[in-house]
């Protein structure tokens, strides 16, 4: 196991992503941040807090569970559902920034776009991830990336966050390619 991002790296990445979001979106009041549970949602709340610290603007933030929209439901045992929290401002006509911890095949994000379409019609959707590890299976890319982490399929990327795991860290483990699918 090797550590790819330390706790300081993670907080720097979150601060940088927050600055980039403010830079790219000239009207930050139209932005809504939705994290994909579980750790994507934790990161979403941190980014919203960071934007508040930097600019004093309070961005509506929530969580979007994508389990029911996954494309691998029928080949896996059923998964428990997670909380979906849509902020009062909704998503209609807004700029929605999806947040996830690791961008890998892109299938989670495809499911998230479907799930988001059920909630409403955002004006535009952007994607922020803490780690982009490559190996995309769909034409999807992130607008904000904390760290590009080239990996092989024999590696797994593990994100730990204080909210859930007691400490902030991103590590890489060696596993068999089959376990990774």
């Amino acid at each position: 196991m090797s550590v790819a991002l330390s706790s300081e790296d993670i907080s720097r990445a979150i601060t940088r992503i927050s600055h980039e979001i403010l830079e790219k979106n000239t009207d930050p009041t139209s932005v809504t941040i939705l994290g994909i549970p579980t750790r994507g949602a934790d990161l979403a709340y941190r980014i919203a807090q960071s934007i508040l610290d930097i600019s004093g603007i309070e961005i509506p933030v929530g969580a979007l569970d994508i389990t029911l929209h996954r494309d691998d439901l029928r080949i896996r045992p059923p998964r428990p559902l997670m909380d979906t929290v849509i902020p009062l401002a909704g998503v209609e006509g807004r700029t929605v920034i999806l947040v996830d911890d690791v961008l890998f095949s892109g299938r989670t994000i495809r499911s998230a776009l479907d799930a988001l379409g059920e909630v409403g019609r955002p004006a535009r959707v952007q994607l922020a991830v803490l780690v982009d590890r490559g190996h995309r299976e769909l034409p999807i890319r992130a607008d904000y990336v904390g760290k590009n982490l080239p990996t092989s399929l024999n590696q797994s990327v593990k994100v730990s966050l204080i909210e859930r795991d007691g400490a902030d860290e991103v590590s890489i483990d060696e596993v068999s390619a089959a376990e990774n699918l």
């Binding site: 029911l68 929209h69 439901l73 029928r74 080949i75 997670m82 909380d83 059920e118 909630v119």
Partner: protein, 311 residues
């Protein structure tokens, strides 16, 4: 798990998982999403060999909200003996490619027979078999109680629930007793002695014949329907007497704690086990039970047929 046949097959944790899944699904519906793609391409057959309105419609609505294809199959009027007829029907359903069969049948144990016959490869969901069990009704009752009286992730520990009426013939009562006790509640059965089955001593419940004495202590009361179609013997002298002793009216309802719920699985015999005044009062959650039934059945369909199930 592949089949939902009896509450006794469920662990406490899995029962709670069904309830929390139902909770999430009800919030998805409240967010404005009426349809989810989760069961797209799956075929759900409603096989109802006995009359039912809300259970069939509720399962149908639940399956459709998850994008499954629904086939309604009424096996009523078949003259073939039960075992054979069920087997033949099952093989027809297998040929149709059913991923799940929702079975309502007048014979106790019919769902077990269908699940263990190995005639079909899909899941079997028991929607009421004779006087045996009605698991989805018990789950929606527990869900309704949990929503009103508990934290949404917790069990029902510390609550006292009374089940009133025809316990003898009631599959709703059997499933409810098993589930409520599994989730930590205390259960008291209230009925005339003729409508309490002999086996109650082994169920871990209290029995009372005095509704007025029980009502002030309960957090919810589940009124059962007097099933006229199963009243072949004289279980009580007259409907009026039953109503006077065991029916709930406004005066009795006022004995209950202020937060206590009045529940009924439906269809109600207004004026017999429950007066119209109580059925339409603010303590009554009868209509909400129907709405919750759809969320609970969506959770059941999701957890039992969406994934790649182990036996």
């Amino acid at each position: 798990m592949r089949h939902l046949l009896s509450i006794s097959d469920l662990s406490r944790d899995f029962a709670l998982e069904i309830l929390s899944t139902a909770h999430e699904l009800s919030r998805v519906s409240e967010n404005g999403t009426k349809k989810l793609p989760t069961l797209r391409g799956k075929t759900v057959v409603n096989l109802f060999a006995e009359d039912s309105t809300r259970t069939r419609i509720s399962f149908e609505a639940a399956a459709k909200r998850l994008s499954a294809d629904v086939i309604n199959f009424s096996a009523k009027g078949s003259s073939v003996s039960k075992g054979e007829s069920l087997k033949d029907t099952a093989q027809t359903l297998q040929a149709l490619g059913a991923d799940a069969v929702i079975l309502r049948h007048p014979a106790s144990g019919a769902a077990h027979r269908l699940a263990q016959g190995r005639w079909i490869s899909g899941s079997v969901i028991n929607a009421g078999d004779g006087t045996h069990e009605h698991p989805s009704q018990a789950l929606l009752d527990a869900f309704t109680i949990q929503r009103h009286l508990c934290d949404s992730k917790g069990d029902l520990a510390g609550l006292h629930i009374a089940i009133v009426g025809d316990i003898l013939h009631s599959r709703v009562a059997r499933s409810n007793i098993l589930l409520l006790k599994k989730l930590g509640a205390t259960v008291t059965l209230v009925a005339p002695p003729t409508l309490i089955p002999f086996a109650w001593q082994s169920w871990g419940v209290e029995v009372s014949h005095d509704l007025d004495a029980v009502l002030p202590t309960v957090d919810a009361v589940i009124m059962l329907r007097i099933q006229k179609e199963r009243m072949s013997d004289l279980y009580f002298p007259s409907s009026r007497e039953y109503s006077a002793l065991f029916g709930i009216n406004a005066e009795r309802a006022s004995l209950m704690k202020s937060h206590a719920l009045v529940m009924h699985p439906g269809p109600m015999n207004r004026g017999l086990e429950i007066t119209a005044e109580v059925a339409d009062s603010s303590a009554s959650v009868v209509v909400e039970q129907v709405a919750n039934g759809v969320s609970v059945r969506m959770a059941i369909l999701y957890l039992f047929i969406a994934g790649n199930q182990e036996d």
